[in-house]
């Protein structure tokens, strides 16, 4: 064994401190749920906030190896590098935001707080670990831990048949995806005899691949599993139903944190695959095809969705596809590793900020936010602040400078152009232009249409905490566009 056992374990425990804090925090929430009197339950959200804040603090205490440095924990099972660090920051920041936004929504739906927060914290733990996973079984375990908690969270509102249906669909298709992922893992293990990425890389480098097709199929099937988590077409079918049926904050978590974690894990895998110099071109072609299909399906599908959350589901399909673009390039051009990593990292950040802002506003709008886009009519007059924030989120998703969305896309497509994938860049930009149709429709509805006579919905109320959370989130849209150089914190 290369590492010294005891020091390595201690080092790993310290290095994964945020994970431990989150797990114990989740347990603390469960215990507190039992101990606290019923009317003190709202304290649970404060405890959850403290837990996330502690994890965030510890994450920065541990820090990032910075630059292109990398650290490995638990005998290669988890990795720490600047991308992981960024992903974990984004996940924790997003969780903090959601916990701030959620309470009133949960009250309105009578969702049990204890279970909700405990499961959410466990899900966040799984996300943190997933983003760092560099070992096949760890990867599978983390994906499953994340999926199972999310299945429950999606259906937590058990009086609502839509939610139950969504949870069930998510579960069924998730199981299929997990099966393929495991299948792929088995192939990869069979071809290389290793589960650690670094060991697999050694085997590949030593030319020890007897059956290249096995390894290629294994990786291809793993892509299917990731395709499900990232809701890439044609593995996306569950997404609209889940986004619509799940409680809105959970839909937001599925759309952001879960995807960021999966992107991080996928990047490690693609980084590994890009080191396989005589890999069959088919692997690249498969990822290329999935990306292309997702861009088109996502953007075209969103156009006629009458429901806001379904529209966001399709929009998130296309955004996942954009984020995968540098990975497609990476498979062909391993020399672009740093560029691709920075582009994916920045996009994680940008995508999370703008998506959370949109979902945050939808959460506050409650019933109205989950409804038809038409019910947003006149929002610009009734709730100017909320409407303005939603408009900002839409413009950023669309990619209007100077918000983060623009720079995110710019970086992604710049990598595609640099790596010679011109068509991918062209189709990406064109499909992103098409997205103007449905993003702007939200703005048009809010500002230029009036609700039908007599159907005037109530003016949504915005308490101070929510207002501050949303404002900070919208400020981030611009802050991270201006300070692009410092987004990798440690590096």
């Amino acid at each position: 064994m290369a590492e010294q056992l005891i020091p390595h374990v201690i080092e790993s425990l310290i290095g994964t401190g945020p994970l431990l804090i989150m797990i114990f925090g989740a347990m603390a929430v469960l215990v507190a749920d039992v101990l606290l009197p019923r009317d003190r339950r709202p304290l649970l959200s404060v405890i959850s906030l403290v837990v996330v804040a502690l994890a965030f603090w510890d994450l920065h205490m541990v820090g990032s190896p910075g630059g292109s440095g990398s650290e490995s924990y638990y005998f290669g099972a988890l990795r720490a590098n600047s991308l992981v660090f960024l992903a974990q920051n984004v996940i924790l920041g997003g969780a903090f935001f959601l916990i701030l936004i959620a309470p009133r929504y949960l009250d309105g739906k009578r969702i049990p707080l204890g279970e909700f927060y405990a499961l959410l914290l466990i899900a966040v733990t799984a996300m943190l670990a997933l983003a760092a996973s560099t070992e096949l079984l760890t990867l599978f375990l983390n994906i499953e831990l994340l999926s199972i908690t999310l299945y429950v969270l999606v259906g937590i509102e058990n009086r609502n048949s839509h939610a139950t249906e969504a949870a069930f669909k998510y579960f069924l298709l998730g199981s299929v995806a997990a099966a393929f992922l495991l299948f792929g893992i088995a192939f990869v293990f069979g071809a290389t005899g290793q589960t650690r990425y670094d060991r697999i890389a050694e085997v590949i480098a030593a030319g020890g691949i007897v059956q290249p097709a096995f390894l290629a199929i294994g990786l291809g099937l793993m892509l299917v599993g990731f395709g499900f988590k990232l809701s890439l077409a044609p593995f996306h079918m569950y997404a609209p139903d889940v986004y619509e049926g799940a409680p809105t904050p959970i839909a937001a978590a599925v759309a952001t944190g879960s995807k960021v974690a999966a992107l991080g894990a996928l990047f490690h895998l693609i980084e590994l695959a890009s080191g396989w110099s005589d890999a069959p071109a088919g692997l690249w072609a498969a990822l290329y095809a999935i990306t292309l299909i997702s861009m088109i399906v996502g953007n075209v599908g969103a156009i006629i969705q009458p429901n806001f959350l379904r529209m966001m589901a399709y929009s998130s399909i296309s955004h996942s596809a954009y984020a995968v673009v540098p990975m497609v390039v990476l498979l062909r051009r391993p020399d672009l590793l740093i560029d691709a990593r920075d582009a994916v990292g920045y996009y994680m950040l940008a995508y999370t900020i703008m998506t959370l802002l949109a979902f945050g506003v939808a959460t506050i709008l409650g019933r109205q936010g989950e409804g038809r886009i038409a019910s947003y009519a006149g929002l610009g007059r009734r709730a100017p602040l909320l409407a303005a924030l939603m408009a900002l989120a839409m413009l950023s998703l669309l990619g209007i400078p100077p918000a983060v969305g623009f720079f995110g896309k710019l970086r992604l497509f710049a990598v595609a152009v640099e790596g010679g994938h011109y068509w991918l860049a062209v189709i990406g930009v064109l499909s992103s232009v098409a997205s103007a149709y449905y993003y702007l429709r939200v703005i048009v509805t809010m500002y230029m249409q009036e609700p039908a006579e007599g159907a005037e919905p109530a003016i949504p109320t915005l308490d101070r905490v929510n207002a501050v959370a949303l404002s900070v989130c919208s400020a981030c849209l611009f802050v991270f566009a201006i300070f692009q150089g410092v987004y990798l914190f440690g590096s």
Partner: protein, 650 residues
């Protein structure tokens, strides 16, 4: 450590902006004082930096790298500040004049319903202006450039209910957009040629090119005319911001804004940004003699035309506005003939006397219940002694009366024009100098001397001297207007020597590339100095005869005799009308054609695309039928696709 203080200079006005913008309602008058304090702090740092630069205690240039702004492909822009002698000089006078105007605004804007909004805008303006001055790379300068444009727009339209104010704001904005287009194109061209937008690097490229130090210079990659076009594009940007022909017509209209704004933005600071840019990139301009000539000619014409218009306007602020345009012409004239330092020195002295004139005018307007027509003022000297005396000093300075600041800077420009062989331009310049003396003293005599012609009896008795917050800045500016010229006297404290490192490369290039040499003759210089002195004195006496002794008969008589020339001047050379008829008509036609094209061609294509997309969307939705079995089927198709591709592709 010094980096911190440098960053603090633009940061303090930003704090004033944020405080007044967000918490104005709570702060009320304290917000104004906060803004004054912030600006005063900036001015203090600016002054210390300037003293450090004059005495050579500071090692310049200093570069403060804040963060990497954008790194995309070959383009890498860092948000950095660059402080050299020129920056120190600009920082000094911008922060100094600003803080005085802030203080003045405390009095002028008192009781205005938008008091805090006003200070928020002013803070944002100063922040942008200081970014403009401090920026190390052209994109950062452009951020400031746009920022000051925005604030200018907001402040011109400050009195939203006033007829014409919003329109004047729009006009300024549109005119500036045309200029900004030039700036942008120039930046693109520059980047295409040298691959960097960092100003020191660009200047270094220009120097190498100009002195033929290396064989193939990237600047000449696209031929010799490239640099000429590029610099002309920069100059187009300058004509917008600094109100030169053909884009000068917005500045007089901009007087719809509050008077402190006219003093600060539309006289002392923002409008000089163009001159600053030219001096910053002096080496680049020096590479293009054609551009230099164009600048000199346009500048001289602007100076002359604007000066002639100023002679007959009746609105006190309009006169000062045209005078500003005219003086800006002088500054560009200096740049055009290669005397960059003389240009920037005139920026400096001008900021004092013009700010003093505008603030004086503001004091008058404040006292006379917003009467701006000089024909309805008059005789205010007794009621407002401080305003009158400071205004008088500033008039002497702008007229170029010996030993006051304007004399030194203007004389320097005229001498450089002459010595570089531009005799025709020199003649125009001397003519303009005469007009300058006449129109400035016309304002003085009509406003402060003679009979009081305020019609409303109540208002007439009510004329009073302004509060100390207004007269204090006036006094300081008047002192500045009187003595600022000393700073460029040889041996006393030479701005020329201080700024020499900034423009040294430009001078080298000009010397290297031109055959004939500038005239150096001490006696000739003194002779010309005497001529301009006589001109100034003559102008003052002319004004006294026309507008004090024999007013209103003599000017009316003169106007009738001059006929067309008078009409030309009074109607502002019909410049606005020409724009309205020709440019407006042309664009109306283009707009109509575009509508047709838009309706039939563009919309047709778009409707087709939209139709296809909607069709696709229906198909996608049709697969989304809610059945898990169908979803799983789709999933398996995807798996098939992946496996087939992996196994059989390539």
């Amino acid at each position: 450590m010094i980096g911190f203080w440098i960053v603090l200079i633009p940061l303090l006005p930003l704090i004033a902006f944020v405080a007044n913008g967000l918490f104005g309602r709570q702060l009320k008058r304290a917000g104004g004082w906060l803004a004054v304090g912030c600006m005063g702090g900036s001015a203090l740092i600016g002054t210390v930096l300037f003293l450090g630069a004059v005495t050579n205690i500071l090692t310049l240039p200093i570069e403060v790298r804040l963060w990497e702004w954008m790194v995309v492909g070959d383009l890498s822009v860092s948000f950095s500040f660059y402080v050299d002698q020129l920056t120190c000089f600009m920082l000094f006078y911008v922060t100094f004049v600003s803080s005085l105007v802030f203080l003045y605004s405390m009095g002028y804007m008192e009781g205005d319903p938008g008091f805090n909004r006003f200070f928020a805008y002013l803070g944002l303006f100063d922040f942008s202006m200081l970014i403009l001055v401090l920026g190390e790379s052209l994109p950062v300068v452009f951020v400031g450039w746009e920022g000051v444009g925005l604030c200018s727009y907001l402040l011109i339209g400050y009195y939203m209910s006033l007829p014409g104010a919003p329109d004047a704001g729009k006009k300024a904005f549109i005119m500036n957009r045309i200029g900004d287009f030039g700036f942008l194109v120039a930046m693109f061209m520059l980047f295409a040629a040298v691959g960097t937008l960092s100003i020191p690097e660009v200047v270094e490229h220009a120097r190498v090119t100009g002195l033929d130090e290396e064989g193939a210079s990237p600047l000449l990659k696209y031929g010799g005319a490239y640099v000429t076009i590029l610099t002309l594009m920069f100059f187009l940007g300058c004509t917008g911001k600094s109100a030169q022909i053909p884009l000068f017509t917005w500045l007089p209209d901009a007087m719809a804004g509050p008077t402190p704004v006219s003093a600060l933005i539309h006289a002392a600071t923002m409008v000089t940004a163009g001159v600053y840019l030219v001096v910053r990139l002096a080496a680049l301009f020096a590479l293009a003699p054609t551009t230099m000539l164009v600048i000199a000619v346009i500048a001289a014409l602007t100076a002359f035309i604007a000066g002639s218009i100023a002679l007959t306007q009746r609105d006190i602020k309009k006169v000062l506005a045209y005078s500003t345009v005219s003086q800006l012409g002088f500054m560009f004239l200096a740049c055009g003939v290669g005397a960059f330092v003389a240009g920037i020195f005139h920026v400096f002295t001008h900021s004092f006397f013009k700010a003093c004139l505008f603030l004086g005018a503001g004091s008058v307007i404040h006292a006379a219940h917003h009467e701006q027509n000089m024909f309805k003022l008059g005789g205010l000297r007794k009621a407002m002694p401080v305003t009158a005396i400071t205004f008088f000093i500033a008039c002497l300075a702008i007229a170029g009366f010996p030993l006051l600041s304007g004399f030194f800077s203007k004389d320097e420009i005229l001498w450089k024009t002459f010595s570089n062989g531009h005799f025709v331009l020199w003649t125009i310049g001397i003519g303009t100098a005469l007009m300058t003396a006449v129109y400035s003293f016309r304002v003085y005599f009509l406003t402060f001397c003679g009979e009081c012609r305020i019609e409303d009896k109540h208002a007439r008795e009510h004329v009073h001297e302004s509060p100390w917050t207004m007269t204090g800045p006036l006094l300081i500016l008047a002192i500045g207007a009187a003595i600022a010229g000393i700073m460029n006297l040889p041996k006393v404290g030479s701005i020329t020597q201080m700024l020499d490192p900034v423009v040294a490369s430009a001078h080298e290039i000009i010397k290297h590339n031109s055959e004939h040499h500038a005239i150096h003759n001490g006696w000739l210089e003194i002779g010309l100095m005497l001529i301009s002195t006589l001109i100034a004195v003559w102008g003052i006496f002319l004004a006294r005869r026309l507008f004090l002794k024999h007013w209103p008969e003599a000017p009316t008589e003169l106007g009738r005799k001059l006929g067309l020339a008078y009409k030309l001047s009074y109607n502002r050379w019909w410049w606005d009308d020409i724009y309205r008829v020709f440019v407006g008509g042309l664009f109306g036609l283009v707009a109509k054609l575009s509508t047709l094209f838009d309706r039939w061609v563009i919309d047709g294509i778009l409707h087709t695309i939209a139709g296809v997309s909607r069709l696709g969307s229906f198909i996608v939705r049709a697969t989304q039928n809610g059945q898990v079995q169908a979803y799983a089927l789709m999933f398996l198709l995807g798996v098939n696709l992946v496996v087939w591709l992996v196994l059989w592709y390539g």
